[in-house]
């Protein structure tokens, strides 16, 4: 077998496209800012430089491995260069580390420490740039940008949105939307994937932590939380809990300690979505109109469709997202109690998603002029609150969600990963509610991380063609094919983020291992659920039979008039 020698260790070449992958395979954590395995190779940060046996210095991310190569990853020269690169980056960087959002999680900070930069010999001539607060989802702080271009490539290559790019040249270069428009006025869908890849706080999540603490402190506010499915397999990352492990119970406990009055599971809302969306699909198949039916759970996708594919807007399901349905139900549910005890119910949803922060402000998500979800907290914000509180999260005893929405099905929980919505809808539509059906559906092709998945099931004697797509660039390509008539479907599930909500912009970021663990975690939550079918959730049934009668459309569907 061909191999290269890395720091005197022979490493076999097994199809790796660059030397960097081989270095990482050899167990050496070579520093990078601009290298991401899922993005095109940019080669700008130059942190991954290595030296070969002839004294040549090159960036390992963009060097093809050649059999017999001998490289050293940490020579004196390489060390000196890496240190200087960090020093250069810091020379035009905001250095208010202690007050930075990203303090403790910043890649620039940690690499500066690792390579041993203890002083910056250059004066800082950075000019203060205004912070862009125009989006409810993300905040752009150009003062902290190191121009690695990760956000630019993510937005373009993964999401196909491309609202960020470079402007100006040389030391005047900046990342900004076209014509330096406020990001909130662009086609930005708020998915937050840019923030996930940003090594510093140049793009960060628009945080509502203070609002929540204020509400908790206010005796006149009933603070109600709902926790999305994907949060439970990610929140533990920050507290030493094994990746992908279900931390729902601990999170419920933590929220109660913090002072939340009620805690619910958004999976209950997802069950409602399954009920409504299945109904809609059956109706549309019957009428043959507005097919394919596109899911509407993902606000990033809904906005993308409106911006780029307005011709498909009528194909979007009229359903609110699980968050939207559940908040509307909660608000109505507590209305009487509010009147009685003079409190105001505030719904805080804890989400893996930054786009949800924008979704709650959409008029079509309001009920009679009422904003149903008051705040969205992302997983990372909740982690910060837990840390502020000083809780030993891993040590907490599991607690369960509050009645009357304490039961949710496995179908509602798998919404957190790509294919989950489809799988839950298929379970709902199946006549035979046995374990066999569950197994068959799980093997129908809707699971897994492939960008676009296809499945086909029989609904009576009608074949229902399904596509599941995640990542907006993939979605765009699929829509183009649908538009051209190259493919046709009855039902299409779209999630803006690759792998679905488990890798949403509001989650702690992670690599390949994180992604797989979270997906496995979600499926494990499903298999350990007592109820697997949304339509078999007794709490859902009860809600439909009593409380919801006559208000299904008002509370569960988008206000499209």
């Amino acid at each position: 077998m061909d191999y290269i020698t890395i720091d005197s260790k022979k490493v076999p070449i097994e199809g790796e496209k660059n030397v960097l992958s081989l270095i990482r395979k050899a167990g050496i954590e070579i520093p990078t800012f601009c290298y991401h395995s899922e993005l095109s190779i940019y080669g700008a940060c130059r942190m991954c430089v290595v030296e070969d046996d002839r004294g040549k210095i090159f960036a390992s991310c963009s060097e093809q491995p050649r059999p017999g190569m001998v490289i050293y990853t940490n020579t004196k020269r390489v060390q000196r260069y890496r240190k200087l690169i960090i020093e250069l980056l810091l020379s035009s960087h905001c250095r208010d580390c202690t007050t930075c959002q990203k303090n403790g999680m910043c890649n620039l900070q940690s690499l500066a420490y690792k390579v041993g930069v203890h002083a910056v010999r250059f004066l800082n001539h950075r000019k203060e740039e205004p912070i862009d607060m125009s989006s409810p989802s993300i905040v752009r702080d150009p003062n902290k940008c190191i121009l690695c271009g990760d956000c630019v490539r993510t937005c373009d290559e993964i999401q196909g949105v491309g609202v960020l790019d470079f402007a100006f040249r040389g030391s005047k270069m900046k990342v900004q939307p076209a014509f330096n428009k406020p990001i909130g006025e662009t086609d930005c869908v708020g998915c937050g994937q840019c923030a996930s890849v940003c090594p510093t706080a140049a793009i960060s999540i628009r945080t509502n932590v203070t609002d929540i603490w204020d509400a908790i402190e206010d005796p006149d506010i009933r603070v109600v939380a709902q926790i999305a499915p994907a949060v439970r397999v990610a929140v533990g990352d920050a507290f030493g809990i094994p990746k992908g492990e279900n931390s729902f119970g601990k999170l419920v406990a933590a929220l109660r300690i913090m002072g939340f009055d009620m805690v619910f599971d958004t999976s209950f809302g997802a069950d409602l979505t399954v009920m409504e969306e299945s109904k809609e699909l059956v109706e549309r198949i019957k009428s043959g109109e507005k097919l394919p039916l596109f899911t509407s759970c993902c606000p990033g996708w809904v906005k993308f469709c409106e911006n780029r594919y307005p011709e498909f807007v009528n194909n979007l399901s009229t359903c609110r997202s699980p968050q939207g349905m559940f908040s509307a139900v909660i608000k109505d549910y507590f209305a009487d109690m509010d009147a009685k005890d003079g409190k105001k119910t505030m719904v805080v949803s804890i989400m893996p998603c930054t786009a949800k922060k924008s979704e709650i402000l959409r008029p079509d998500n309001y009920t009679d002029g009422r904003q149903d979800t008051d705040f969205v907290l992302t997983t990372t914000e909740v982690i910060r609150m837990i840390k502020q509180m000083g809780l030993q999260f891993a040590e907490l005893e599991n607690e369960s969600a509050d009645a009357p929405f304490s039961v949710s099905s496995g179908g509602g929980k798998i919404f957190g990963t790509t294919g989950g919505v489809t799988e839950a809808v298929l379970r709902r539509l199946a006549n035979d509610k046995t374990y066999n059906t569950i197994r068959e559906i799980s093997y129908s092709g809707v699971r897994g991380f492939e960008g676009t998945k296809e499945a086909s099931v029989m609904l009576g004697d009608r074949e229902v063609k399904i596509a599941v797509v995640h990542g907006l660039a993939n979605a765009g390509r699929l829509l183009d094919k649908i538009k051209s008539g190259e493919v046709s479907y009855d039902f299409v599930e779209v999630m803006a983020c690759r792998r679905g909500c488990i890798m949403g912009g509001g989650q702690p970021s992670g690599g390949a291992r994180t992604r797989v663990s979270r997906m496995e975690g979600i499926y494990k939550v499903d298999t350990t659920s007592n109820v697997r079918y949304s339509d078999e959730n007794p709490a859902v049934k009860q809600l439909y039979d009593n409380f919801l009668t006559g208000r299904e459309h008002k509370l569960l569907h988008r206000n499209l008039s």
């Binding site: 080669g43 700008a44 130059r46 430089v49 020269r77 001539h125 271009g149 040389g170």
Partner: protein, 684 residues
């Protein structure tokens, strides 16, 4: 007219030649950018008007006994001014000019015999004067230039007012206007080719520049244009073409010196069949204009090279990337492409063969970095002009991710002569590993600035002292900056080094695209380094950290030094930054960005030290380092300077010499202006 076969091409060429021959005189007014700036378009208009008005007028010409025109006889002819009898050589007819009117007369007389005994005589013919705009002659220092054929006179620094005299004397009477001719050391040079500036050059690529009308394809045909293409299409296979170019050892003129034939071979062997030929005309080095001169002066030569390249590698489409700051080049290229398409050298079924090829022009928006291959192709595609990592290389995935031949203007301009004369001929010019000629833009403190072309391997001494005519004011040579902002400094000990790709690289310099800035003893090398760093820093695309931030920090350090605030450790910092940028930058621009600083640091370290330790700039270039002093002998102690000093830097007792505290002095000059005794002076 469409030329659809090799035979038709021959006919077209013969027509072109006879059409040019039909002109008794040709006035070539240099329409290179420098001469246009000097007013050559007005000169052209005026001469053209005069020529049109004189259409068909009979004029006097000087003819050598052999039948060839010879200017040596001019002096004698000037004595035979209007009114005298002039006789034709064959004795058939004579025309006598009286007061500007011409009338026929019988041939006779013994005085005529006397005239013909000498080597040349005067004849009269029905004049047809072709007034043409030519490309750059290269002797820009002396522009606007006007060349008169058949005498090969070159008139320098011509003004509009000179036109009448030129026309009346030279065109109507064959007499030179000596006051407009180049003189050096008491010698008058009438013919262009005799001027030392030209005599020491080997003009192959630039051969036609200044000698043909760049806007007329027929003129190119008349001097043998498209002969190489004819040869290629009628008798060679693509592989044979590539082999000839490979054998010739032609190396890319854009600066890198990559073997052209090897590049073509790599493209030709790609599996992808859609291929592109791209010409890099994004000449961005400050002061360099070699490529511009070719594009403006002989665009077809470059097009022919591109067409041959396309045939060799099997490309269907070509792009020329030209800076938008070269409007004249763009205009002439557009005309050339349109004429080549019309004639059938471009388009479908070129010269009646199965080979088809088209060329598009793409204007660059003036980013220096777009001269880098991958940035250039990105820019053509409409992307931001930023270099990308390689692999894939341009030959594999270049323009639109297809295999692409990307060569420089001058490289393409070399192709046709290699095809026509063969690889061995080419290798016989200059060093075998780095053969051919190279065009340089010679500027700075040299007497003859302009565009020159010399064989590779020529020494700096020959260029500076023979072609360049030595330094202005006979100053002492200090250094020659070669290769522009990507290059380095050569010093007096490098004067006899052969200028070619390999030997320069070993000196830490590079040919680059061919800028040569000659600097004399009055040049501050720290300021030179600052100048180039300022340029590179401005032109960095901003992608990779070492170039974006590193060049900025180097510039700041250099600015600090020339402002008198440098510290000795700044030199180490410059060295450290320079080495890091050179080793770690992403593209060629970044990798070479620090060269001007590193090479001046190496060769002129003393000068840097003077700046940072003694805070002195010997050349007086760095104004911030100039020191104001009071000559105690001249100072009368009147205190006027002290009273006018805005920062109270001057003190002293009345009637005794005053002194300036240099640490307080802001160098405003108020003391000099106010001293009635000339006692205040500056010291470098």
């Amino acid at each position: 007219m469409k030329i659809d076969s090799m035979e038709a091409l021959e006919t077209a060429r013969e027509n072109a030649v006879s059409n040019i021959k039909a002109d008794t005189h040709r006035i070539l007014v240099c329409a290179g950018t420098g001469c246009i700036a000097g007013g050559s378009e007005k000169i052209y208009d005026k001469l053209k008007k005069m020529a049109d008005e004189a259409e068909g007028v009979t004029v006097e010409m000087i003819v050598e006994a052999t039948g060839e025109f010879h200017p040596e006889s001019v002096n004698r002819d000037s004595t035979a001014s209007s009114g005298s009898d002039i006789v034709s050589t064959d004795g058939e007819t004579i025309i006598t000019a009286i007061n500007g009117d011409f009338m026929e007369k019988e041939a006779a007389a013994s005085e005529m015999k006397e005239e013909t005994d000498k080597t040349s005589k005067v004849t009269t013919v029905k004049g047809r004067v072709g007034v043409k705009k030519s490309g750059c002659h290269g002797f820009c220092e002396m522009g606007p230039l006007v060349r008169i054929e058949p005498y090969n006179y070159i008139y320098i620094k011509v003004r509009e007012e000179d036109c009448e005299e030129i026309f009346n004397e030279t065109i109507l009477h064959g007499r030179p206007v000596e006051r407009l001719m180049y003189q050096k050391d008491g010698v008058l040079y009438r013919q262009q080719e005799e001027i030392p500036f030209y005599a020491k050059q080997t003009r192959l690529v630039l051969k036609n520049c200044g000698h043909i009308n760049a806007e007329d394809i027929n003129e190119y045909l008349a001097v043998g244009g498209y002969q190489a293409l004819e040869k290629v299409l009628s008798s060679m296979t693509p592989d044979e073409v590539i082999n000839v170019i490979s054998d010739s050892n032609l190396r890319g003129r854009g600066g890198g010196g990559f073997p052209t034939g090897y590049k073509w071979k790599q493209v030709a062997r790609q599996e992808e069949k859609i291929r592109y030929v791209v010409c890099n005309g994004d000449e961005g080095d400050p002061g360099a204009f070699m490529d511009r001169s070719v594009m403006e002066g002989d665009p077809h030569k470059m097009l022919e090279g591109m067409i041959i390249a396309a045939f060799a590698v099997g490309a269907q489409e070509g792009y020329i990337y030209v800076r938008a700051e070269y409007p004249l080049a763009i205009k002439r290229l557009k005309i050339a492409i349109a004429q080549a398409e019309e004639a059938g050298f471009l388009g479908d079924h070129i010269l009646g063969t199965d080979f088809s090829f088209r060329i598009h022009i793409n204007r660059g928006a003036g980013a220096f970095v777009c001269g880098e291959g991958s940035a250039l192709t990105a820019s053509i595609e409409g992307q931001r002009g930023m270099p990308r990592t390689k692999p894939p290389r341009t030959v594999e995935q270049g323009l639109f991710a297809k295999p692409t031949v990307l060569n420089n203007v001058e490289t393409y301009a070399n192709i046709s002569m290699i095809i026509l004369n063969g690889a061995d001929w080419y290798k016989s010019i200059g060093p075998e590993k780095s053969p051919g000629t190279k065009a340089f833009a010679l500027t700075g403190s040299v007497k003859n600035t302009g565009l020159i072309e010399v064989p590779m391997g020529t020494t700096l001494r020959e260029i500076v002292y023979e072609i360049g005519g030595g330094l202005k004011n006979d100053a002492e040579l200090k250094a020659v900056q070669i290769g522009g902002p990507s290059g380095g400094c050569l010093i007096t000990s490098d004067l006899d080094v052969s200028l070619d790709f390999d030997s320069l690289k070993s000196l830490g310099a590079m040919i680059g695209s061919g800028g040569l800035v000659v600097m004399d003893e009055n040049t501050c090398m720290v300021e030179v380094a600052r100048f180039f760093m300022n340029f590179t820093q401005n032109e960095s695309c901003g992608k990779c950290v070492p170039c974006r931030e590193g060049t900025k920090r180097m510039l700041e350090t250099l600015e600090r030094i020339v402002a008198g605030n440098g510290k000795p450790e700044d030199l180490d910092l410059l060295q450290e930054l320079g080495e890091a940028i050179t080793d770690t930058a992403l593209c060629g621009l970044g990798k070479s960005a620090a060269l001007p600083v590193l090479s001046t640091l190496k060769n002129f370290r003393e000068e840097y030290l003077e700046h940072v330790v003694e805070k002195r700039c010997k050349t007086g270039t760095c104004k911030a380092l100039v020191r104001y002093k009071i000559d105690a002998g001249k100072c009368k102690g009147c205190s006027k300077c002290a009273r006018n000093c805005p920062v109270n830097a001057i003190s002293g007792e009345i009637k005794k010499p005053f002194v300036i505290d240099t640490t307080k002095c802001i160098k405003c000059g108020a003391c000099i202006d106010n001293c009635a005794f000339g006692a205040v002076y500056t010291e470098n």
